[in-house]
Amino acid sequence: MMSNMSAVRLEGITKAFKDIVAVDNIDLEVKEGEFLSFLGPSGCGKTTTLRMIGGFEQPTSGKIFLGADNVDGLPAYKRNVNTVFQSYALFPHLTVAENVAYGLKRKKVARDEAKKRLEEILELVDLPGYGDRRITQMSGGQQQRVALARALVNRPGVLLLDEPLGALDLKLRKQMQLELKRIQHEVGITFIYVTHDQEEAMTMSDRIAVMNAGHFEQIGAPQDMYELPATEFVASFLGASNLLDGEVEGGDGNMARVKLAVGTTVSVPTDRMPAERGSVRVGVRPEKLHISSDVSANGHGSNSVDAQVMVSTYIGVSTSYECRTTDGSKIVVYVQNLGNAAQPIGAGASVRLSWDPEHTFAVGANGGDK
């Protein structure tokens, strides 16, 4: 349902609060109908960015477009955008129906039409017949749905959601993730979704914008970013990563050769390299590694390092091995339990870890681009 029209465009947006630069010169384009998440640790500027799109804060510099319109200086109440607030911010003196119909009333939507839309939206968020309840009589999950209904009923061009599931327990959160995705699919409205939970962002988003210290580290589809993180920050924030220090030694057209600090040399596809020379950190995801107690074997992929198992943890669907290389780097390996696996490898065992060069990525070594 995504179109090529842009729903939101940020150009060089910066926001400073006195001496704190909360958002630092960011650019972003969100397509109509897209589900885009801002993912990043607490304090990285997600809420501030969202509030500038909503019109609650004005950027220090830069331009914001909603659709084709530049909305600089336009107050929140004149923007065709609605927000689901972090703590819902439901009006405690109004009933569920009055809360949901609040925006329709201000926009002077005709009574019959408003009533119809109210009923439809309560149906959509699975709260039919709850209109007369007081907000204080609703559970946390129900309040979350009311907040969603109150925003969606206005059929905004863009819906902004600031950690909408943050206050719910895990089980309810999982359920609401699916439900939110279903609702977004049904209404076809652009969602900009703020979360600090990488799993949530991965399962829900068409694209993720990973944010760190006021700027975007990388923007892309979840699977692309997982397979090929652009920075060390993304590699470690989005799922687990093993990162090993190394020096580029050269290579042929398709493969670069990197000499790891542990001693071995590994191959990395050239298009997955951040630089042609100098120091890099070579990464590989834990589930892409093969572990073998036969240190002379080299069956799986041509990249390998030797290590010692420190801890092995049986998790049911998989076994996790925490290993350490001779230079002290930590490497985590997940091995799926397929039932035919021979013997689990115990702590203390010497092992060879190997992987396919195609599963290897590399990021800048300075780590200072955080």
């Binding site: 004149k78 955008v81 009006f91 405690p92 609040y102 925006g103 925003a151 206005n154």
Partner: protein, 284 residues
């Protein structure tokens, strides 16, 4: 069984000290005063209960002007304190930042001086040749005969000042506990600042308005001190009448009867007020 019975009783037992206090210091005196209001006699001969309802009818006929004046002054004072303190408390609650408590203290500071002293100071300010009027008259801005003291203006002004904290504090509490993000939500839902105030802030502050109004109106109506010090013969209020009947004339039955009529008038007023604001909002 026995312990269960005791468990059920426990909450009631906890209220016992309070109930006992109210019975001894409120219910019994009230009943006594009520009984006195139907008695006849004098201080020297003693008072006897005769069901003398004329204590009510006759005093009402004699003091109806003062009673109505008091209710009216109470109403005006309540409205003035509300109008003055609402913007002030709004500002402190939403814009006070970290210095909220300091601002609040600054406003309350004058009220740390005794009521009587404060009112006497107002008397100095309002005196015909005092620092305010004297100066204005000297430069010819006011005619020599101009007077504030001993007028209703002085009484209302003094009372508005004296009762301000009783309005301001409950208002502050109700405004301060409001989540400011509700204003973002209102703006998000197409409300201008004015609409957000009318639809969200104001309704949510109504419990404070209600509490503040009661705390101001009730004592203001019966207040004998402000009219005594700042008013004149034409501004006599019901509190002064009660004081005179009780303490000067020793006419306890009449004083008691007036007190009960005053109470009834206030109760009716409060009841109508609560109905108008909506009891639903009051109790949340």
């Amino acid at each position: 069984m026995a312990t269960e019975g005791r468990k059920k009783l426990a909450p009631y037992l906890l209220t016992l000290p309070g109930v006992a206090f109210l019975v001894v210091f409120f219910a019994i005196p009230m009943a006594t005063v009520f009984s006195v209001s139907f008695q006849e006699g004098s201080l020297s001969k003693g008072f006897t209960f005769t069901g003398h309802y004329q204590n009510y009818t006759e005093t009402l006929a004699r003091y109806d002007t003062q009673l109505i004046r008091s209710l009216l002054v109470g109403l005006i004072v309540t409205i003035l304190t509300l109008v003055i303190s609402y913007p002030m408390m709004y500002w402190i609650a939403f814009r006070g930042g970290r210095r909220k408590n300091i601002y609040l203290l600054l406003i309350l500071l004058p009220f740390f001086t005794p009521f009587l002293i404060r009112t006497l100071m107002w008397k100095t300010i309002f005196a015909d040749e005092g620092i305010l009027l004297g100066a204005l008259k000297d430069i010819g801005l006011l005619p020599e005969s101009y007077q504030v003291l001993a007028t209703a203006t002085a009484v209302v002004a003094g009372m508005t000042y004296n009762f301000l904290p009783f309005m301001a504090l409950p208002l502050y509490v109700s405004l301060e506990k409001m989540d400011p993000r509700l204003l973002d939500a209102a703006a998000d839902l197409y409300s201008s600042r004015r609409q957000a105030f009318l639809k969200v802030t104001l309704p949510l502050s109504l419990p404070g308005v209600f509490a503040g109004s009661l705390l101001t109106f009730i004592p203001a109506v019966g207040d004998p001190i402000d009219p005594e010090l700042l008013g004149g013969v034409n501004t006599t209020m019901i509190g002064q009448v009660v004081q005179r009947e009780m303490l000067t004339n020793n006419a306890y039955p009449r004083g008691s009867a007036i007190s009960f009529m005053l109470m009834a008038a206030i109760l009716i007023g409060v009841f109508l007020y609560a109905r108008a604001l909506g009891t639903e909002e009051m109790t949340g």
